[in-house]
Amino acid sequence: MTEPVITPELIQKHGLTPDEYRQVKEILGREPSYTELGIFSVMWSEHCSYKNTKPLLRTFPTKSSKILVGAGEENAGIIDIGDGLAIAFKVESHNHPSAVEPFQGAATGVGGIVRDIFTMGARPICAVNSLRFGEITNPEVRRLFSGVVAGIAHYGNCFGIPTIAGEVYFDKSYEGNPLVNVFCLGVLRHDQIARGAAKGIGNPVFYVGPATGRDGLAGAAFASQDLTDESAEQQRGAVQVGDPFMEKLVCEACLELLATDAVAGIQDMGAAGLTCSTCETAARAGTGIEIELSQVPQRGPNMTPYEIMLSESQERMLIIVKQGREAEVQRIFDKWDLPWARIGTVTDTGRMVVRNHGQIVADIPAKKIADESPVYQPEAREPDYLKQVRAFNLSQVPVTRNPLGNLQTLLAWPTIASKNWVYRQYDHMVRGNSVVCPGSDAAILRIKADCLPGSANETTTLKADKFIALSTDGNGVYVYLDPYEGGKIVVAEAARNLACSGAVPLGTTDNLNFGNPHNPELFWQLRESVRGLAEACRALDAPVTGGNCSLYNQNPSGPIDPTPTVVMVGQIEKPEHITTQWFKNEGDEVILLGEAADVGDPLFGLGGSAYLQCVLGQKTGTPPRCNLAVEKRLHETVLSLIRSGWVKSAHDCSEGGLAVTLTESCFSQMARETPRYLGAQIDLTAFSSIRLDALLFGETQSRIVISTTAAHAEQVMAAARGQGVPVARIGLVGGDSLRIATGDGALNCRVADLHDLWWNAIARAMK
């Protein structure tokens, strides 16, 4: 078998610059073999090496007393949740594969992140997804949208993990380049944390899972290129097919094996497959690793070393077993009828040595390739378009004459409309811990004894059940219009959703979805938004425990809106504090915490708003500001009110402003086709100095609408004032319609009609 000669073209095709190639030769002290070239190419792709983003990622706050495994250390971060328990969580993107094959692309995205979690020794107990698509009116977008949702559903449902929260935005900038960010969270005891390190010289290295095929060749490199029409066609070979059934077996078998203490190290084969898992485990342990490719189970005939090393076949794990304990691995994997093979040994050479039928095909210092990739500080320049954005003012916008019509339009706007068309396809209740299902500000999950790794036949008990809350957010339009402020809002909104549900943040995982970093304007967006994200995470005590970068998100017509998404996880102290967004009882008082509008903002919160976009067709204007000190005070206040037992419902103001928040609070889902409607009589006449459109639809930050019994209303007012939070009684819950009185007249509509617009909008668009 002859290998291709390494030419400058071949090097370029592998995405390595001439400079990087020089480094490769320096590290090796010779020319690389073809297999080695492939190995360097995937390991030094942006996806694996973060070579353009590393310096930025270092600016995130990553420490807290509760963080047990921090960002970048392992496959996922781990946070203490008390009583010896911990959670592991992370988000991952699968944007490019989903653009090419939406169903499998999204499905394997879920598979990958679930593996990242059980690799840590944790039992995966919930999933979250954050999605972006072009306009839903475009049939191609609908194909991608339904394919992605079906793919996530297929994988998560079959694996048996509740997909409990998510978000979906529709915007032209994502046409042809959808974003598919998936998140998984697992739970474990502190003493169950597993490490992805090849420890123990002489320990055998096992391969577990289905055979390696040619699927997904060099997916990591594919994720680190611009998506062009051609690449879609060419790269189709890069799409893998997922098998959630296999994943379920691999997960159960690995957790069972980890309980035996026979494992020295474990790592999933994700991006860059066998390559990444071998050199990273060796690098982490400061050891070497030697593998024999002929021992690797292979699906296709005549696979080359290059193909075996770079394949991204799914559902495979690398396990470093303690010498003498091999029989346990065999017993457990045979029990689950899973293929396994012993493929190598841990060495003391510090090198990753790959042999094929005895012959060396790669021999690379593991640490050098895993940890010492090139690092760049790309050039950054403020984009020109921002001048226009900043010049936008409201003199061009006539005050609305039809606020009810506007509200109805907003409710049916796919980005705001209910996402039940999506989440009803996800099993969001499997495992029996979904306390608050999709539909409220944050999802809430119970952690009880049987969530832990280990069989249900063992009887473990916990001191007390734990409750965690999850929210994912990422308004890309704000970030486009003001990366720094937008970045702050991404985090603030996630934290606000947690606060509304009664939770205190534990940590954040972020996914940076941006365009080509070599374009200075796009890199500026990235840099500025990271500044905002980092500042907000710091201010709101939600340190970053890990994340993922997906750059090169552009399609032939241009880059996507810069879209950092975050998933924030919080903890709820007591089950009594669990709060949902919908009104509970007739006669309760409705109270607004926060300013009715930011009068310091010349656009009163309308810049970048859903109202401007969907009613006026304009995606412009400086977005609302977020004062993090104010935001933090608001969260603390709402939490203390919740703990006092005074809060019946809490819902934050986000896209669509106060009017949409109030409307959504009138709906709660009981069962199929039978929602519960609870209207409200709202009086905003006290705010008649504010422009009507800004009052109803402005997206001024740091606002929450709560409801409370009439008996507690005065206490709530006093407590909020005492904390320095602006507060106003704005109405009463009751009746079957929502009536909002303003200085410019009242709008009034049956809740059932508003609900129908909001609930069925996406289903109608998908017909």
Partner: protein
Amino acid sequence: MNFAVLQFPGSNCDQDCVQVLRNVLGQSAHLRWHKEKSLGGADAVIVPGGFSYGDHLRTGAIARFSPVMQAVRTFAAQGGPVLGICNGFQILCEAGLLPGALVRNRSLQFRCEHVYLKTLTSDSPFTQGISGDQLLRVPVAHGEGCYFADAATLAQLNTNRQILWRYVNARGEADEHANPNGSLENIAGVCSEHRNVAGLMPHPERASEAILGSTDGRHIFESLIQWLTSRKAIQAA
């Protein structure tokens, strides 16, 4: 009572059932691996939900050949109560322990949501003491829950009162809107001719704790426990 909860490769509601039986209802419950040839002296068998064998080929088609299913067959033939939930229902139909089959949802999509169930007869170990007026609010979560049986079987099911539950709306009417999957006659669950084997698509184990929003599913388990208790009493006497 002692419950055996079967565990096939790909089962994923097995632990949920064990947890509810043990911790909510105070019973003894154990997972039973599909390769086992006996049921370990269980008083009742739960065939739980999930995606046994990945739902490959057809839902439930492969699981029914598992060794443990032979034991279930014998157990059922001797009158032992067997309850199949979701994928468990599909497996029991495939195994011929229950009539009919479950096919792809009419919407061609997976559906996870709460539904209302009407109990049609209290004449079964699973519905004792559940009155027809008491609607049960229980979640469904499946892609292939559309119940089908040929006309003759359907007539027989009706005559023998083997239809245990139908999907209904909040007013108790079995209309088309209340049907999440297109099942014939809104059928959500049926029992065998001898009434000791039953299956349903909804998940009672997910509606057995107040914190999860409904405790209606508990009635089904409680009915079964009561039935077992009185049978034991009779046998002892």
